[in-house]
Amino acid sequence: MNIYSELILDHYQNPRNFGSIKNPSKKSVIYNPSCGDRIELDIVLKQNKIKDVKFRGQGCAISQASASILTDYVLNKAKEELKKLDKDFMIKLLGIELGPNRITCALLPLEALHKLI
């Protein structure tokens, strides 16, 4: 199966919610030293819901597309709901099959999110 699906490539080439938030409620940085992928995440929380989210970073197409897709998903979602998101959810959200080496790239943005909520 080709992991460079239209969805992945679209988000890699045109990332959504890319940038930073001036006064975020919380921010996190996560780094995968083995390949140098890096995701920075800013969120604005209001009444326990994510009202704004921005990410920036560098890395492979999978980690960057995953951050773009995940940030799109979390907008207006409640903290409690987001805490439950796991590996299986991310695989479904991205719609691709990933081997043990590349799954780390895909999960990096979720890890950054879990640090914040």
Partner: protein
């Protein structure tokens, strides 16, 4: 080499795939990761099977026939390896689990004994982690100083090599690095990322003229499969390499050391087969090499390693080296023609002295991440390595997180080079 002999060589090497059973199962495989591990010829696989099916007894223990046969086969490899690298005697050959264990053994059994407060250990920024971390930790534990030789922008060790290598002048900078306090100099023969072949012999000669008591350790994991090694001629004190990078089984490594040094060293592991006599209050150890081979070794692996040596010797290391220069030089020129400056090859310039380079080409490609490049190439049945290749300090020095590495060995062909170039064009189309 002239065109005629290149063609003759290419024809010869294009028939080699048939000796490697993996290509029966993976006929489309373009294997460009021999720097990580080499594929295995049938003779090696058959020898592993022979041991397990015909005389799979333990070594040095039984008086029965199949144990004696296993011991003979095992010791025969020691003899063959000793001759292969021109050791003074086969007792200087110690079997380990790999280059990593060989280096750790030297750092532990010799390093801990001789490194004291203020003593220096010198290594380089182009080392594999296995020839970096053991010494860094040792220096930290014993209060020694850990000195790391930098590289030049040209990808050579920054010890004035460009001067001496090409103009026959002296290594000026080495005199500023090696001092009377330097106890250990440990260097790689060939960088597993840059492909640089270090002029080890000249470095050792000059380093020892500065400090005659200096112990020199050479990581030859990338060198033994590709260059003729003569430990007497090199003048080092220890040299390590791995079986699996030279067509042999995984799980076997070699440590060669000067016998007098090995004899003085403390054992690495204690247990079976490394003792002479054991009493309640004391133990007397065996002499090298057995002092360093506690427990049941990877018998089948050691026995089959000699088949790898025989295979390489039948072809001839010089012939292999010429062919690798041809393949990697072709790829370097091809990449430049097709991708211009978008692809940046790490290490010494190919235009200059190709004989200073091994058949290893690491590169970055525009903004594309090495993992994406390797993944897309995998879709085309092309196996390359992506990452920092166990050389994080070097990648930091180069200012990059990761690179893509294509490396060549005897079963590769010019068609493989062509497929890689095509695959990289596909990377551009997919990732844009």
């Amino acid at each position: 080499m002239d065109i005629k002999s290149i063609n003759k060589n290419s024809r010869f090497f294009s028939t080699i795939k048939k000796d490697f059973p993996i290509f029966l199962n993976q006929p489309e495989l373009v294997y460009l990761d021999s720097t990580a591990t080499a594929l295995k010829p049938k003779t090696v696989v058959d020898k592993l099977r022979e041991y397990y099916e015909e005389y799979s007894a333990n070594v040095f223990r039984g008086v029965y026939k199949i144990s004696e046969k296993a011991t003979e086969e095992y010791e025969d490899t020691r003899k063959i390896i000793g001759e292969f690298i021109n050791a003074k005697k086969s007792e200087e050959i110690i079997f380990t689990r790999g280059s990593t264990e060989s280096l750790n053994l030297v750092a532990y059994s010799m390093g801990r004994k001789i490194i004291n407060q203020g003593d220096e250990i010198v290594t380089s920024i182009m080392e594999h982690h296995s020839n970096f971390v053991p010494w860094q930790v040792l220096a930290g534990e014993n209060g020694g100083t850990f000195k790391v030789v930098d590289i030049t922008d040209g990808g050579h060790l920054d010890i004035g090599l460009e001067n001496i290598k090409y103009k026959n002048s002296k290594f000026k900078n080495l005199e500023q690095i090696i001092t009377k306090k330097t106890k250990i100099l440990t260097l790689t023969y060939i960088s597993n990322v840059l492909g640089t072949i270090n002029p080890i012999k000249e470095i050792i000669r000059l380093a020892k003229s500065i400090n005659p008591k200096l112990i020199v350790v050479i990581d030859a994991a990338q060198a033994v499969p590709h260059l003729k090694i003569d430990v007497k001629n090199l003048g080092c004190d220890f040299l390590v390499f791995s079986s699996h990078k030279m067509l042999g089984p995984t799980g076997v490594g070699v440590l060669w050391g000067k016998y007098e040094l090995l004899d003085e060293m403390f054992p690495f592991n204690f247990g079976g087969e490394m003792i002479q006599e054991v009493y309640i209050d004391k133990t007397i150890f065996k002499k090298p090499p057995h002092k360093f081979e506690a427990g049941t070794p990877h018998i089948a692996g050691v026995i089959a390693l000699k088949e790898a040596v025989k295979y390489l010797e039948k072809i001839g290391i010089e012939k292999i080296r010429d062919y690798e220069i041809f393949l990697s030089g072709s790829l370097a020129r091809w990449l430049e023609d097709e991708f211009k400056t978008k692809i940046k090859i790490l290490g010494p310039d190919y235009g200059g002295y190709p004989e200073d380079r091994a058949g290893i080409i690491s590169f970055t490609f525009g903004k594309y991440h090495p993992h994406d490049i390797a993944q897309i190439l995998d879709g085309e049945q092309i196996a390359v390595r992506a990452g920092h290749h166990c050389a994080m300090p070097l990648h930091n020095r180069l200012g990059i997180n990761a690179s893509v590495r294509a490396s060549f060995y005897i079963y590769n062909t010019i068609e493989d080079v062509s497929k890689l170039v095509k695959g990289l064009k596909k990377v551009e189309i997919i990732l844009r």
